[in-house]
Symmetry: C2
Subunit: 357 residues, 2 copies
């Protein structure tokens, strides 16, 4: 693999400064989802933590560096999850955190940012305007700007998900199972080692693609340590800038976005992040809004998970291309669960009307 900006040793070091509450997240097969998808599906669950998204992994790295050395005031633009995570990580370290967001951002995310004690400035435009405004504040006030996906700490923090996936893969290796079977003292024990996991190890990981921190982070680790695993990025058709850029191998911007997946709705890919993505992604696909909603519903009905639209992109990708995944074992990273209750009920409520007994 050609060199990305990321470094595997630094990613291992990052894991030592991240609060353990964000690490070692559940990874488990969800067989109840499988009849509807036609393949084995494992979930890597990034929502069971104090900020309900994977973003804490990155902000812990950012904030611990700042707490050690560097300015104690920091600003970021956010669709909501990065801001919430930076507010959490900053509060624990006495940092002064300002978040700039679109006034159209998910209200539940904005409420949590405020509750965590961060300053919140809303802009009358989309996420790209929030990015511009955050940069302006940083320049004007002379404080640190945290740029999601551009700042290497945000990528390397997210990349620790990749380390956990690779470790799970190593434990599930046929070689390892055979070794355990060899070590078994009885035929029964050998059989146990064989039967312990009826699914083959996973061979693809579906990653929500927005700015690219998670995709380049997890992708870097997989390509470095488990190159046989297919790295597939998934973005909404309504916010396709990074995916188009990946396919055309040059930055492609869009004038607008039209998706419920607020967490990945960027329009201006960052060139350095695209360069990394070109090195680590095997594919980048676009999915329709209806598939995202169907994915959210499946995760609710068959996995008992309340997820935000970005976290359903992986399931949406399987739904749109069953043949590609048929018979395989796929991991989907459920990356966030911050939703507005009303919007969420509208999305999943279009399911068959509850039967009143």
């Amino acid at each position: 693999m050609q060199q990305t900006r990321l470094d595997t040793d630094r990613i291992r070091a990052a894991r030592r400064v991240i609060d353990p509450v964000f690490l070692g997240t559940p990874l488990y097969r969800c067989e109840a989802l499988e009849p509807g998808l036609g393949c084995a599906v494992s979930i890597k669950l990034e929502t069971a933590n104090p900020v309900r998204s994977f973003k804490g992994r990155g902000t812990e790295v950012v904030a611990s560096l700042l707490a050690e050395r560097g300015p104690r005031a920091v600003v970021c633009a956010s669709a909501g999850n990065l801001g919430q995570a930076l507010a959490w990580s900053g509060r624990g370290r006495g940092l002064d955190v300002t978040v700039v967001a679109s006034r159209f951002a998910t209200a539940a995310k904005l409420d949590r940012i405020r509750a965590l004690g961060a300053g919140l400035e809303l802009v009358d435009g989309d996420h790209e305007l929030a990015r511009e405004r955050a940069a302006e504040i940083a320049r004007y006030d002379g404080i640190r700007l945290v740029e999601d996906s551009l700042d290497i700490e945000t990528c390397e923090g997210a990349a620790t998900i990749g380390l956990e996936l690779v470790e799970a893969l190593e434990q599930a290796k046929p070689g390892e199972q055979a070794k355990q079977a060899d070590l078994a003292e009885t035929a029964e024990q050998a059989q146990t080692a064989d039967l312990a996991d009826p699914a083959p190890p996973f061979d693809a990981v579906l990653i929500a693609l927005g700015g690219g921190a998670m995709a380049t982070g997890v992708g870097h680790v997989l390509k470095a340590l488990a190159p046989g695993v297919e790295v597939i990025c998934v973005q909404p058709l309504g916010a396709p800038a990074m995916t188009r850029s990946w396919h055309e191998r040059r930055v492609v911007t869009t004038d607008s976005t039209d998706t419920i997946a607020d967490g990945v709705a960027g329009r201006h890919p960052i060139p350095a992040v695209l360069d990394d993505l070109l090195l680590v992604a095997d594919d980048a696909v676009l999915v329709q809004e209806a598939s995202i909603i169907a994915g959210m519903r499946m995760l609710l009905d068959h996995a008992g998970l309340v997820v935000e639209p970005s976290a359903a992109l992986g399931i949406a990708a399987i739904l749109e291309d069953r043949d590609r995944f048929a018979g395989r074992h796929v991991v989907t990273i459920v990356c966030g669960g911050n939703v507005d209750g009303d919007a969420y009920r509208r999305w999943v409520g279009a399911a068959p009307v509850p039967h009143k007994a």
Copy 2:
């Protein structure tokens, strides 16, 4: 502490035979819940695994012992979660699993038991009739009967939750934090160590009480290793047999149950389990159905968690006695998430009608 039937060393050993997919579950503060409850609340999440309940911890111990030595056929009575977990653990080890359940059990649980390849026999009565029928099958067919809460493996498997809670407590100790502050090389680092967790360590654990496996298991470990933590069991008013038994210090049975919390709706407490519970529980409280539903709604709206009624008992207990918990830090074990979609929608759907924007 007087001797329970449980053994802390055996519980540590149990952890080594349980599939890691059931271990090291998320434990995190959920601040979004706290304004509504008036105390710091941490969630111990036992639903992000292949069977969506804590029962896999116990069935892994049972099944690994059977796979090593003992009969390869096994039967249990179950309200659904034990059966699903035993089916999962047995499948991986080539065991022949039969589950007996009430035909009124949660359909989603029964569907999963069948999907996991176990034999399922339904009885035309409640869980106590299923228990009788399972014992009959075991006698008649000469196969192993797994009795939830009576079989020590089911208690000691569940008790591994307690080990994880105690470990978290030790990491959060003021002594530990001070040690980290002492080791800090700079004033900033010292401040970081102080500020890392703004909540005091937890001082109470709320445990759903049914047959008593989880309550005696977790309670045993807490009383042995963290005796200062209050162990509070919570049961529905509509299924109060074990709680009444605890208060009267003798087995009290009831003629019927009337609760949506199917996972804890027993009528005939097991004497040996009651004896253990008397040694490890600091209190046992009863809560109303309306509080259970309110707890489920709060966990959905503020924590993004779909939980079954039994898993909301802890929140229900706080709602019914805010003064008792005011200003404290409480852990509630979210023990299961298997619900029928329609019933769940009815329960949580009575929330304020979604506001259409």
